[in-house]
């Protein structure tokens, strides 16, 4: 079985020249295209489906609460404000105010936070080449919370309404680089190193938060306690106006670098051989992660595990390609946080569960399961 030299044009050789074990081209060519062509529309369908689900969940969430408003009325109120005379207006007393002063900012912030967390998780996992990386797990959220708490306690307001977000960004980016520097060896990040680094960072951040609580007054203590539990109760249009630009920049960067992140999965050197400036890519990705985490943490505190569980579920459905993973994780994260917040504030009458507690109750066991699976796959603590 001799392979002959192909013509200079390098066209796929005719069947007569191929080894006998390979069927002729006409027979296998359609089969070859299965992954690209059959799964392509399914992936777009996934993104479309998630977008529809997000809109539905938002309409539902905005209508639920002490003043019940039907989804149709929610949509009607929105359309009227946009200048479209369509759909019913809220019939309940104070319905319009409940929507525009309380619920819409809250649902909007939930969308921003969820999209940020989902994307930050996917980005971080891509950069570390490790499916267990997540802002909450490896301590970046706590680092950002320390930054935000320090800003609250010290009373610094150099950037006005942006101060808390800026401090959270600073805390987040410092922590991310620290974790990155500490947990990498020979261009790889071992699972055990990453998780233990997260333990250390979370412990340090917890101690710093405790110290800040000790140094501050009752109001400060309450504010910091709120960080640690995570809640959307403080949502205002002001918060939205700060978090949204951070999130949008982070999401845009994630979309731009998605294809290069795919190549990073091959490892540092092969990605470089394919023309990727890996150092610059990591720098960009880490900055974007910190920006996203800051936008998620600045007004809501630590909402953990969304960035871990959502990208993982998306990968199971659509594969690991980042060009689908990024938008799908953003949409999926938003759906989860809007839904989680809805449950948090309506599950118990006249009381509100902290959202961070709720996501941790679900996400903690999921993380445990992921750890077990990773361990089983690499045959030990690879």
């Amino acid at each position: 079985m001799q392979l002959t030299t192909p013509p200079a044009s390098e066209s796929p050789s005719p069947a007569s020249e191929t080894p006998s074990s390979v069927p002729p081209k006409s027979a296998w060519a359609p089969r070859l295209r299965v992954p690209a062509h059959l799964r392509g529309p399914a992936r777009i369908g996934l993104i479309g489906g998630l977008a529809v689900a997000l809109i539905a969940v938002c309409l539902l969430a905005a209508g639920r609460g002490q003043v019940p408003i039907s989804p149709a009325e929610v949509a009607g109120s929105l359309l009227h404000r946009l200048g479209v005379d369509l759909g019913p207006m809220p019939s309940a007393v104070q319905g319009e105010n409940a929507l525009w002063l309380v619920r819409f900012p809250r649902v909007t912030l939930a969308v921003i936070v969820g999209a940020s967390l989902g994307t930050a998780g996917a980005l971080m996992q891509g950069v570390f080449g490790n499916p267990l990386a997540e802002p909450g797990v490896i301590g970046v959220s706590s680092g950002a919370a320390v930054g935000a708490a320090a800003a609250i306690v010290s009373g610094v307001t150099v950037f006005g309404i942006w101060t808390t977000a800026a401090a959270a960004f600073l805390g987040g980016i410092l922590t991310t680089f620290m974790v990155y520097a500490m947990s990498r060896a020979n261009g790889r990040t071992e699972v055990v190193t990453l998780v233990l680094t997260g333990v250390a960072v979370n412990a340090t951040a917890g101690a710093l938060l405790g110290l800040l609580m000790f140094l501050t007054d009752d109001d400060g203590v309450r504010a910091i306690a709120f960080w640690q539990l995570g809640s959307l109760a403080q949502a205002t249009w002001g918060a939205v106006s700060v978090a949204a630009p951070c999130a949008l920049v982070g999401l845009a960067v994630a979309a731009v670098i998605a294809r290069r992140l795919d190549l990073l999965a091959l490892g540092e050197a092969p990605a470089r051989h394919l023309g990727v400036d890996t150092e610059r890519l990591r720098l960009i990705a880490i900055t974007a992660t910190a920006l996203l985490t800051a936008s998620a943490v600045a007004f809501t505190g630590i909402i953990s595990f969304v960035g871990l569980v959502v990208p993982h579920l998306i990968r199971m459905v659509a594969g690991p390609g980042h060009r689908v993973l990024m938008p799908a994780s953003a949409l999926g994260g938003a759906v989860v946080v809007v839904l989680g917040d809805l449950i948090a504030r309506t599950a118990i009458d006249y009381q509100e569960l902290p959202l961070g507690v709720l996501t941790a109750v679900v996400g903690g066991p999921a993380f445990f399961w992921l750890l077990r699976r990773t361990r089983a796959k690499s045959g030990g603590w690879g």
């Binding site: 001799q2 392979l3 030299t5 192909p6 200079a8 390098e10 066209s11 796929p12 050789s13 191929t18 080894p19 074990s21 390979v22 081209k25 296998w28 060519a29 089969r31 070859l32 295209r33 299965v34 992954p35 690209a36 080449g129 490790n130 499916p131 790889r188 294809r259 290069r260 795919d262 190549l263 990073l264 999965a265 091959l266 490892g267 050197a269 092969p270 470089r272 051989h273 394919l274 023309g275 990727v276 400036d277 990968r315 594969g319 690991p320 390609g321």
Partner: protein, 252 residues
């Protein structure tokens, strides 16, 4: 591809010391030598991975003057080991080899290049399977397919046959030769001297970071040289039918 006076210092030790090397279009050049001779380090230097003394030219231009993306259109590198962090399918992994051509007219060849690379390395049947579910030898062929799909005029292959069975070792080196005959320069690190003798147009015998000899394997593979370089007595016999040198360690 042409390199003169290559020096690489790792951990205070000169691992590659004054190597001159060239590989012309149409040529398969093998780097052979004992463990620690500096073969892989030399290949990494040629890839542009290491701070290197001396001068390396690809297509008549200094390696350092290339932008990373332009370099990726000139040369493809097959690493000794291939890892993957996420469960991409075989087809997706091979398609990654086309990344340097995104947004260029050559991107129109993407499907054809991927298809051809799969066919040549006999991995077509695995196209939809996750890379990580394959055996070591199958993964090695997929990694080679990714490198072939890149369609560059220079190919640098670090031990492409290490994990492969006999049939696939032959297949891989046939593909390497085929690529060279189509106009590529192929530099390949090999441990198996028999394979080097059969498929390389020229070999460089490296020892302790220096070139001990270079030229067509039939001239270079002598009992004296190989015995000296490998610190083990070696017999070289001509193949009774083809005359290609057969290299055999002397055994009792």
């Amino acid at each position: 591809m042409k390199a003169t006076g290559i020096e690489v210092t790792l951990g205070g030790r000169k691992v590659v010391d004054g190597v001159d090397l060239h590989a012309d279009p149409g040529e398969v050049v093998a780097l052979v030598g004992p463990n620690g001779a500096g073969k892989s380090t030399l290949l990494a230097a040629l890839s542009g991975d290491l701070p290197t003394g001396g001068r390396i030219e690809i297509g008549g231009r200094d390696l350092r003057s290339y932008k990373r993306i332009d370099l990726a259109r000139q040369r493809a590198v097959l690493p000794q080991k291939s890892a993957l962090s996420f469960p991409f399918t075989v087809g997706e992994v091979i398609r990654m080899g086309r990344a340097p051509w995104a947004g260029r007219p050559e991107a129109a060849e993407d499907d054809e290049a991927v298809t051809e690379a799969m066919l040549r390395t006999e991995v077509t049947a695995f196209a939809t399977r996750p890379f990580q579910a394959l055996s070591g030898g199958e993964q090695a062929r997929v990694a080679l397919a990714r490198v072939l799909a890149q369609r560059t005029p220079v190919l640098l292959l670090d031990e492409p046959t290490a994990a492969l069975d006999l049939r696939h070792q032959e297949l891989v080196l046939q593909v390497a030769r085929e690529r060279s005959r189509a106009g590529a320069s192929v530099i390949v690190v090999l441990h198996d001297l028999g394979l080097a003798a059969a498929y390389a147009d020229r070999v460089y015998v490296l020892a302790a970071g220096r070139v001990r000899a270079q030229g067509p394997p039939a001239h270079i593979f002598t009992e004296d040289l190989l015995t000296d370089v490998y610190h083990h007595e070696v017999e070289v016999l001509p193949h009774p039918r083809t005359g290609t040198p057969l290299v055999i360690p002397r055994r009792r």
